[in-house]
């Protein structure tokens, strides 16, 4: 890709600062290791990113996975993993940091940096971009980056897609021809398209007052972006210093989830303080310091505002990236050698909070917040692992069909596409409904005897050797009233460590209790109870 300067007919001088944006196209695909193939990265059942080959076949972001596979049968898929993307993006971030001190990550794959200082140092915008390309050249994953320079972050992102430098003052003309879909606000864009506004130039020509009245804060933001200004007016450029939260730990912690747990309480209090001042944080600086004095500071940006959960996620990604992804030729990416003792969360840029949430539906309600606070208190009492939440996933045995996670860890995206009222997709070989209500944590060994008090076993073919009549549990005996045919389960035969070969049997004793008994290697044990 070669860069060229954009020759426009001049425009107004705007007061936004010159920003450089480095854009890695389809970063989720690159981070997942899927090279130039037909590939998509999906979150749940929706496509999040697709490779250029897949796009040429008609696959788009937002398609359901099935539709994508129908359009392109030879598609490879990978799960969306933001932590992995952040980790793999680390070398590129470190590379850009050698040229510019303040680097902001909007999301893995897109970073922005103000260029006033570096440009002057390197002797011009063109020289800066050239230097950046030289620096990024040895990194294997950074072969296809687009680098754009313009006034303001939005214009620079658009320039990065075309890989060009927009001279100062010509941003408005440059943006005038871009289509309205570049604003990335599907509802507003749909509406504007139907009203006949197809380019950003046409949007910028509308009077600002009517934008607010007709379209609300979203419309005002879009109008500002179309005119080449920053989305929010920079009111509180320097937030009051006492908003920063520092956590000093007594003992060094080296596990990311523990650091995230510690950060959660502070993130909650920071968000509460911001909300008390009716402020929303759009750019957060996270600084980690270890016992031996190694420091790592990174600035993160969010499109709407940072919630506490989003802040904790960034802390975790940063620590993961620092520990795991520090490879590459740049010394600043050296991995830490001891645990973290100090964590600083500093809101670098705040803006007046206009009450919008990141999602229209499904945001936190009052009941959700109250419950989250109560559960966090219980976690503080009993420990991080004491409160768990479950997500339905696939499996054969009753114990396998749910994934149990500690509360507060971000849930993996819909594994089985379950929501209230939705049935999980069928998993071949699982027991039919109803599932046992009580899955015993340790199976209780029992003895199953037939009428003649001889032990009953299950043959290789899955048949009982005799009619079971008596169940002996410890010192108690129960007569077996009903029983089923054994189900054979033979899992992971290729891995001798995790090979499971067992037969499951449902039986009902004379007092009406129904049990699930498992026969493995000649021994019977009760694994679950139907209550």
């Amino acid at each position: 890709m070669h860069r060229r300067a954009f020759a426009g007919t001049g425009g107004r001088v705007v007061s936004t600062e010159r920003t450089l944006v480095v854009w890695c196209p389809d970063w989720p695909i690159t981070a997942a290791g899927l090279g130039p193939e037909y590939a998509v990265v999906s979150a749940g059942q929706r496509v999040v990113a697709c490779s250029p080959l897949a796009r040429s076949e008609g696959v788009r972001r937002g398609h359901r996975l099935r539709e994508a596979q129908a359009r392109c049968p030879q598609l490879l898929t990978a799960e969306h993993d933001p932590a992995r993307e952040a980790r793999v993006f680390e070398p590129i971030m470190a590379a850009v940091e050698t040229l510019s001190p303040v680097v902001e990550i909007v999301r893995p794959g897109l970073l922005a940096t103000p260029t006033r200082g570096p440009s002057r140092y390197f002797g011009g915008d063109g020289a800066l971009v050239q230097q950046l390309r030289t620096v990024l050249a040895p990194i294997p994953l950074a072969q296809e980056v687009g680098i754009g320079l313009a006034d303001g972050r939005f214009a620079a992102t658009q320039a990065a897609r075309l890989d060009l430098i927009v001279p100062s003052g010509q941003t408005v003309d440059f943006l005038a021809d871009r289509s309205i879909g570049e604003l990335d606000r599907p509802d507003l864009c749909n509406l504007l398209l139907r009203l006949g506004i197809r380019t950003l130039g046409q949007l910028a020509a509308l009077p600002e007052v009517s934008m607010a009245g007709r379209f609300g804060p979203d419309g005002v933001e879009a109008h500002r972006l179309a005119r080449g200004l920053d989305a929010r007016p920079l009111v509180a450029r320097c937030p009051p210093p006492d908003l920063a939260v520092t956590i000093e730990l007594d003992e060094p912690i080296s596990r990311a989830d523990q650091v995230a747990f510690v950060a959660k309480a502070s993130a909650d209090s920071l968000v509460e303080r911001l909300e008390a001042g009716a402020l929303a944080c759009t750019s957060l600086a996270v600084e980690l310091e270890t016992e031996y004095g190694e420091g790592h500071r990174r600035q993160w940006r969010h499109d709407v505002k940072f919630t506490a959960a989003a802040m904790v996620d960034r802390v975790r990604w940063q620590l993961d990236g620092w520990v795991g992804g520090g490879g590459g030729p740049f010394a600043s990416g050296r991995a830490p050698t001891s645990g973290v003792v100090r964590l600083l969360l500093e809101p670098v840029e705040v803006a007046p909070d206009d009450g919008r949430q990141a999602q229209l539906w499904g945001g936190e309600t009052d009941a959700d917040r109250r419950a989250a606070r109560a559960l966090a208190r219980v976690q503080a009492l009993l420990g991080f692992d004491a409160v768990t939440t479950a997500v339905l996933s696939g499996g054969r045995r009753p114990g396998d069909r749910a994934l149990v996670l500690p509360w507060g860890e971000s849930l993996p995206v819909d594994i089985a596409g379950t929501g209230p009222g939705q049935a999980p997709p069928p998993w071949p070989g699982h027991h039919p409904a109803p599932t046992p209500t009580a899955v015993l944590p340790t199976p209780v060994p029992v003895i199953v005897l037939d009428g003649g008090r001889q032990p009953v076993v299950v043959t290789e073919r899955g048949e009982l050797t005799a009619v079971p009549a008596l169940l002996i549990m410890g010192s108690r005996q129960h007569a077996i009233a009903q029983w089923s045919n054994p189900w054979l389960i033979d899992e992971r035969w290729w891995d001798s460590a995790s090979h499971v070969r067992q037969a499951d049997l449902q039986l009902v004793t004379d007092d009406g209790t129904a049990w699930l008994a498992t026969h493995q290697r000649g021994q019977w044990a009760l694994t679950a109870r139907y209550d």
């Binding site: 959700d368 109250r370 109560a374 559960l375 009993l382 009753p398 139907y530």
Partner: protein, 273 residues
């Protein structure tokens, strides 16, 4: 069946708006919920209503005196639902306890399960519980009373199973006072001194299994209901649990899902639906 408070009429605009979900498929800038009554069956309407209200988190359904309970069990509860500030004790069946809280979780209330390390989440989901609002605290240990009190503060329902028999004492009074003050419901899978409502499962009968064939399909629980106040007379019910939660929501399934009251007061067994 406890009817949800009707806020959205079937046509027209109103002050309750704000959703871009439009079942007729048109995108409007003054967005409103438009549910055309002619086009939808009652089951679909009930589903849309529960789905919307759970997503919007309205407390309209739950801010009344009672929390909703599945229609299947509504005749067991004298108030038609779980009365706020009360303790309900359900002994003998974990499945019945899950069923009792299932409708409340679907309606937007949070329910914490304390002291149930072996409760299978899949079974809870099959009985209709919404797992996104159903956290577990499997082993509260010795500070169980503090944990229950803290959770009663934050969650509308607490499902608790005591490890050993609970005796009257300061713990019990503190928890009862907290529950009454906050308007939460404590459902105890065990016995609890001073419970307002006691459901005891005396017998359960499973059907579907034979002698070496079939699989467990349905269970019939014989439940005795006793309580204080309105529920002072003890009555016996037979509760069949079969099918899926969708059949229980709208009550449109046939005779097999009715709860038959087989005990006093009437001498002849009466069918209560």
């Amino acid at each position: 069946m406890p009817r949800p408070r009707r806020v959205a009429p079937s046509h027209g605009r109103g002050p309750y708006t704000q959703t871009s979900v439009c079942t007729n498929g048109c995108l409007c800038e003054d967005v409103f919920v438009s549910v055309s009554s002619a086009a939808l069956t009652p089951a679909a309407k009930a589903e849309i209503w529960t789905d919307l209200s759970s997503r919007a988190g309205t407390r309209g359904l739950a801010s009344g005196r009672t929390l909703p309970v599945t229609p299947l069990l509504s005749s067991l509860f004298p108030d038609g639902g779980l009365r706020r500030g009360a303790v309900v004790s359900i002994t003998g069946s974990l499945g019945l306890a899950c069923l009792a809280v299932a409708a409340a979780t679907r309606a937007g209330s949070w329910c914490a399960a304390v002291g149930l390390p072996e409760l299978g989440p899949v079974a809870a989901a099959e009985l209709g519980v919404d797992l996104t609002r159903f956290p577990f605290v499997p082993t509260p240990g010795r500070s169980w009373s503090t944990v229950v009190a803290v959770l009663a503060d934050g969650c509308d329902v607490v499902l608790f199973r005591p490890e050993r028999a609970v005796a009257s004492g300061p713990d019990i009074t503190r928890i009862a006072a907290r529950i009454r003050q906050r308007g939460s419901v404590l459902v105890v899978a065990g016995s609890w001194p001073g419970a307002e409502l006691r459901l005891e499962v005396e017998r359960r009968r499973w059907s579907g299994l034979g002698a070496g064939h079939g699989h467990l399909a349905t269970r019939r629980l014989e439940v005795t209901v006793e309580g204080r106040g309105v529920a002072a007379r003890s009555r016996r019910f037979t509760v069949p649990i079969e099918g899926s939660p969708q059949d229980w929501v709208d009550g449109s399934a046939g005779v097999s899902t009715t709860v038959v009251c087989t005990g006093e007061p009437s001498p002849a067994p009466a069918a209560v639906s």
